[in-house]
Every structure is written in structure tokens, then in C-alpha cells.
């Protein structure tokens, strides 16, 4: 276990609000080591503090607000190394505080959520888009501030439909994340009445940094003509080499090219520029989707404490899942939780690396409850029952 840092700031000044009682919220950020397979390119090194930096930015926001109300916030950051016992670390964290922000693979999220010590806790998934976690494998104590993969593929499907790009092909990688992204995409295309005219699996072992311009035109030639090529390459292994090397001159979307993302440095509307700038000044790098999910988790708790003047998990959970809760998340709409599966509703950015192209839900995609529920699993199709 490395980097066990305690960021604890206690403000006793009440700035003119002396009548408020003291309320303190301690949260643990636990990141579980997950080995990633090698990728063709080593252009993008993942920041070591991914997620953590977002949580700390959210903590600062909470502290600034809390000092006017006599509310104190602290965050313990625990980052595990390969071989560390994640369950033991989770138990230790839960003994100290019922609030746990998790960066962990899906199986580990469930193992921690199922601990007896976590029964009355509030856990946040900030790292996995796995749909099952929001569906039949949902847990009443596990909330999700990261969108499901399906929310992101639905966003792209809405965009394809709006643009009338209805002739689609897909290339899928061989990693489990690629396969599940491709599954989510297929189901999104069906949902919006689109279909794939052709599919291929990425099977190269060659070094595409050198061979892409020779190999990819041939590899994509037999896909025929189409409107958009979708790539399911969630680990960013081969996708970057496909762009501009396809046989047909067509746009690329999915994991590369036009992407649907939780957060991106190109988001600047709706006051987002302020959050981006706060984050960049503090961390000297761009804010990622996982940072945003961790920021949203800690801000969710902060917002609930601010509005309820309480710090016990039962009160906070009730408030967070109630219609009264809303988070201003710099996405142009109030963010709320789906009370039936614990997913944070949020607009999804459709962007390329240089600009925002659109924001889903797109105009015209209507819903009887909330337009944001046109993205991802909707209540009638959900198999999540523990929230009822």
C-alpha cells in the first residue's frame, strides 16, 4: 500500500453562522490495482492520480461551502499496489467511515459492496461502465457517478440517427472491455432502429505504428461502403491507427475519432471552463472522465450534507435518491440519481479531441420522465430490484 495520505481540513470558523451544529463527513477514496494489457502505442501515460485528483477538487469545493455552515470534510486516499489485499483495505476504510469512493474492477466493486461492514454504507463506483452493475447485479449500497457504457453508446446512436448515418460497420478488439463495449453498441443501435451492415474483429499482431498505412486499407476494404465506422477499442490499442487509413473515406466513431465521453478537456460550456481551470491549476493536467466521476461522487455527498445538515448514511442516502436532490455538474442540466438503480443521470458529451460536437440527449429524443433517461438502461427494462 502506498501513498496513504490524509487530507483533513478542519474549519471551526462559522463566518457569521453560529447557530449551526458541527457536522463532519469523512470519506475514503480507495483505488484497487488493476493490471492493464499492453497497447500498441505508449503515447498516453495514464496519470498516477487519475480519479484521486478529481476527488480532491471536489473536496476543496465541499470545504469552501462547508466553512459557511460549520460542516467539515476530510478525504483519506488509499491507493493499492499489485498484490495488496483490497478487501482488507476496504474493511479498514469502512471501519473508519461509511463513505467509500471506489476505483476498482466490477468484480471487486461487488465483493466490497457485499461485505457485511458495507451493509449500511454508501459506495460510489467511479471506474466501471459495466452495465450489469446497474442491472441484475446492482447493489443498494453502490451508486454510480460514471455513466454506464450503454449511456455512452446510446449517445452515439442518437447522434448517428440525427445525422441519418444509418449504414454502420464495426471493428471490435479482443479485450473483454472491447467486447462489452461492442455489446452495448449493438444494443444501442437496436434501441434506436439502426443496424450494422458488417463487423470485423481486430486480429493483427503486427506493430501498427509502422504498418497501419499498408495493412488497414486492405483490412477495411471488404467492409464495403458505409456511413460511419465504429471502433470498439476501449483500451486504445489499435484504434488511433485506423483513422485516415480506412479504404473508404468515412468518419470513425466509438472508442476513437468521434467519442461519447463523460468528461473531456474540450467541454467549456455551462461554466465547465471554471471546473476545468480549477482542476488544471491544481493538478497541471487535463481532467479525465474518471476524475469527473470522483468529483461528482464527493460533491454528491457534499450537496447532501449541505442540504440536510446531517452526516449519517441513512439520511444522506434518502436525500441523494429523493427528487429534491440535484447536483450542478457543469453539464447544463441538474444531475440526479435514478432512484431505481443508483446511476447518476447526466448528459453525455459527443466530442473529438479538439471540440465538442454535440451533447446527448439530442433534440427530439423525448422521454416521459426525464430526457436523460433516453441514455442507458431505463426503468422498465431494468432488472435491478434492490432499490425498490
Amino acid at each position: 500500500m502506498k501513498n496513504f495520505t490524509q487530507y483533513s481540513v478542519l474549519f471551526c470558523t462559522c463566518f457569521g453562522m453560529s447557530a449551526q451544529a458541527e457536522v463532519a463527513l469523512d470519506v475514503t477514496y480507495l483505488s484497487v490495482f488493476e493490471a492493464q494489457p499492453p497497447t500498441l502505442s505508449n503515447l498516453d501515460a495514464e496519470p498516477v492520480d487519475i480519479g484521486v485528483a478529481g476527488a480532491l477538487t471536489g473536496l476543496d469545493d465541499n470545504i469552501t461551502t462547508g466553512r459557511f455552515l460549520g460542516h467539515n470534510y476530510a478525504l483519506n486516499v488509499v491507493q493499492l499496489d499489485d498484490g495488496d489485499d483490497a478487501i482488507a483495505a476496504a474493511k479498514t476504510a469502512l471501519a473508519a467511515s461509511p463513505y467509500l469512493i471506489l476505483d476498482a474492477p466490477p468484480a471487486m466493486l461487488l465483493a466490497i459492496a457485499d461485505l457485511p461492514e458495507a451493509a449500511d454504507a454508501i459506495l460510489f463506483n467511479t471506474s466501471s461502465g459495466d452495465l450489469d452493475l446497474r442491472d441484475s447485479a446492482c447493489r443498494a449500497n453502490l451508486l454510480h457517478t460514471l455513466p454506464s457504457d450503454k449511456m455512452r453508446t446510446d449517445a452515439l446512436a442518437q447522434f448517428f440517427l440525427t445525422r441519418r448515418w444509418d449504414d454502420l460497420v464495426m471493428i471490435t478488439g479482443r479485450h473483454p472491455q472491447d467486447v462489452s463495449y461492442a455489446e452495448a453498441m449493438r444494443s444501442s443501435l437496436i434501441k434506436f432502429g439502426l443496424e450494422l451492415s458488417s463487423e470485423k474483429t481486430w486480429e493483427f499482431d503486427a506493430d501498427m505504428r509502422r504498418a497501419a498505412s499498408q495493412e488497414i486499407p486492405l483490412f477495411t476494404q471488404d467492409l464495403g461502403d458505409y456511413d460511419v465506422m465504429i471502433l470498439a477499442d476501449e483500451l486504445h490499442d489499435f484504434g488511433r491507427y485506423v483513422l485516415y487509413n480506412t479504404w473508404e473515406a468515412r468518419p470513425v466513431a466509438g472508442s476513437e475519432g468521434l467519442t461519447a465521453v463523460t468528461w473531456s478537456p474540450v467541454i467549456e460550456q455551462w461554466g465547465a471552463a471554471q471546473l476545468q481551470s480549477r482542476f488544471e491549476v491544481k493538478n497541471a493536467r487535463d481532467m479525465t472522465s474518471q476524475d469527473y466521476a470522483a468529483w461528482a461522487a464527493i460533491r454528491t455527498l457534499g450537496e447532501a450534507v449541505t442540504r440536510t445538515n446531517a452526516a449519517d448514511p441513512a439520511t444522506l442516502r434518502d436525500y441523494i435518491l429523493s427528487p429534491e436532490f440535484e447536483l450542478a455538474g457543469f453539464k447544463g442540466r441538474p444531475l440526479t440519481f435514478r432512484s431505481w438503480n443508483g446511476q447518476l443521470r447526466q448528459p453525455i458529451a459527443i466530442a473529438h479531441p479538439r471540440a465538442l460536437v454535440a451533447q446527448a440527449p439530442l433534440d427530439g429524443f423525448l422521454h416521459q420522465v426525464n430526457e436523460l433517461d433516453t441514455l442507458g438502461l431505463d426503468q422498465p427494462e431494468s432488472n435491478c430490484e434492490v432499490f425498490q
Binding site: T65, R278, T306, R333
Partner: protein, 317 residues
């Protein structure tokens, strides 16, 4: 604030001629619109990302928040010449001029600070810690209270202008953007963009008197986002910009009921009246224009193209 400016104007100037000054956030300019011809008669360069704009009481200078230049610029409105910059703290977004015509209360959006600057000595006389992303600014007509709203902390912070210290902090709905004192300072109104509401406070004890909510037919509730608002003569009605719903609401200031919705340009931010308050000019950020509303009939009259992303608006006779 514009209300008190206008009162003195009406007494002094019998003619109804005047100008609406609009800051263009993404063009680094101000556009000057004639309220007679409804045309842009001048465009002047400013510092980077101009947003808040207000005139001195005698209209001899105009103050402009140049957010990305980290300065409040002082411009000669007759020539468009920048006379000098005032120290403003980082990223000034909005400000309000104290009735003493000297002290500017400035929201420093990136720093969670309200800066008070003396426009004569050009010195910072106080910096007050407020919530995250301060934005809306107001000052009571008697000058005793200044307000800063903070967008992420979701509060109105009440500043005692004698001591330059906070004496109260009141929670409002998400993302408060704009504040105004109403009815000779008896009430203080705050709009909440994401919360979709205006909260009305009793100034004397900072208690909540009521809340105004908006429902624009055919527009999803989430897109109805109140931002700037201004009051008609006698504070009988408020005109409220509703952001990406592309409408302005007309609110009865006594009953707090919404009486009308007026279609304007896209993402309407702020507004200013002409001299006799018969016309209202709204800045529409996304469509890059200004909508002129006839106040009596509550109908839009015409659109005027200005620069990119018009934001603030202020009137001078």
C-alpha cells in the same frame, strides 16, 4: 442598480434617446446600440472575455470586467478609449457599483473571493472570502449591504459594507447567477440557474419570503434556467432571462406569479431597459444577438446582431 441609474436619468434627460452597451464575451468587444434607431452605432475593443458592464453614476466612464485579462477596465464611453485598468483580483466576472459611486464590489470567479476596489485611488480596499465561483453581485440602495452569490457553493453571501465582512450566508437552489435588491431594498432576489428558481429574501432578517418557479410550455424543465433579471418602473414586474429555454419570463413582483413568457434569441443571459423602460434589450449568447422587447405589449420587436456571445448589458442616456 440599473434601476437607480435610470431614475436619475429620467429626471435629468427629457429626451428618450440613449444607448445600450453590450459586452461580447467571445469577441473581446462592446457593441453600442442606439435605443432610437435600434442599430449598432459603435463597436469598441476591450480586454479579453468582457462580461460584467456598468456605468459610473454620471455616465462619464464605463467599467468592464475583462475576465481573462484579470482586470476591470475603465473606458471613456464617448471615445471608446480604455483610460486605465483597475486591480480586480483574478477572473472578474460580475460587479456592482456602490451608491457612493466609488467602490466596486467584484466577484472573482476563479478565486472564491469578492474584491472591493476604490475606483478613485485605484486600490483594493478589501478581499472577502466567499463560496466557490462567485458571480451575482448586488448592493442595497442604502449602500449598507452587498451580496455575492456563489455558483458551486449555492449561497448568497451578505456583506456588511462598513466592515467588509460577511454577516450572513443563505442557501439557495443550485447555481445562483444574479442578485438584485427590490422595493427600496426591502427584498433581495437571487436567481438559481440549475435549480430553475428565484428565491426572494426579506432583507431585514435574511429569511426566505418565497420562491418563483418557471414552466415554459414545450420546453423541458431542465432547460428553463433563470439567469439575469430586471425590474420595471416601481418594481411591479420582473423580466427574467431563462437561458437555454430562449424565453424571458414576466413575473408579478407582488404575487410572485409568472404572467407571461416571451420568445427571444438563444441562451438569453442579461438585459437592460431603455430610458423610460418601455423597451428591454436582452443579450442572447448563443445566437449572438440582442432581442428588443416592447415592455407594454410584452412582445419581441426585433433582433439586433452584435458580436459573438453577447453577455452583459447596460444603459446610458
Amino acid at each position: 442598480m440599473i434601476r437607480s441609474l435610470l431614475l436619475s436619468t429620467c429626471l435629468a434627460a427629457p429626451a428618450y434617446a440613449g444607448e445600450i452597451w453590450v459586452t461580447n464575451e467571445k469577441d473581446d468587444t462592446v457593441s453600442v446600440i442606439s435605443t432610437e434607431t435600434l442599430e449598432v452605432i459603435a463597436t469598441y475593443p476591450t480586454g479579453e472575455r468582457p462580461r460584467g458592464i456598468t456605468f459610473s453614476k454620471d455616465f462619464s466612464v464605463v467599467y468592464i470586467c475583462a475576465s481573462d485579462s484579470d482586470a476591470v477596465q475603465v473606458m471613456d464611453p464617448n471615445t471608446g478609449e480604455i483610460l486605465h485598468d483597475l486591480p480586480s483580483g483574478e477572473d472578474p466576472e460580475q460587479f456592482v457599483l456602490h451608491p457612493n459611486d466609488r467602490h466596486l464590489y467584484i466577484a472573482n470567479e476563479d478565486d472564491a473571493i469578492t474584491t472591493v476596489v476604490d475606483t478613485e485611488t485605484r486600490a483594493v480596499i478589501a478581499q472577502i472570502d466567499v463560496g466557490v465561483e462567485p458571480e451575482g453581485m448586488a448592493v442595497s440602495p442604502d449602500g449598507k449591504i452587498a451580496i455575492t452569490t456563489s455558483e458551486t457553493t449555492n449561497m448568497a453571501h451578505w456583506i456588511d459594507t462598513e466592515t467588509q465582512e460577511l454577516f450572513a450566508n443563505t442557501l439557495v437552489d443550485s447555481r445562483p447567477r444574479h442578485a438584485e435588491f427590490v422595493k427600496d431594498g426591502e427584498q433581495m432576489w437571487v436567481s438559481s440557474e440549475i435549480g430553475g428558481s428565484i428565491t426572494v429574501f426579506n432583507t431585514a432578517d435574511q429569511t426566505e419570503l418565497g420562491k418563483i418557479r418557471f414552466e415554459v410550455p414545450g420546453v423541458h424543465q431542465d432547460r428553463v434556467q433563470p439567469v439575469g433579471f430586471e425590474f420595471t418602473d416601481g418594481d411591479t414586474h420582473a423580466f427574467v432571462a431563462l437561458g437555454p429555454s430562449n424565453h424571458v419570463a414576466v413575473v408579478n413582483a407582488d404575487t410572485l406569479e409568472v404572467e407571461d413568457y416571451i420568445l427571444v434569441g438563444r441562451r438569453v443571459w442579461h438585459m437592460a431597459f431603455n430610458a423610460d423602460k418601455t423597451q428591454l434589450f436582452t443579450t442572447n449568447g448563443v445566437s449572438g444577438d440582442v432581442t428588443v422587447i416592447d415592455v407594454a405589449s410584452r412582445e419581441p420587436l426585433q433582433s439586433i446582431n452584435v458580436g459573438r456571445f453577447p453577455w452583459g448589458a447596460a444603459f446610458r442616456p
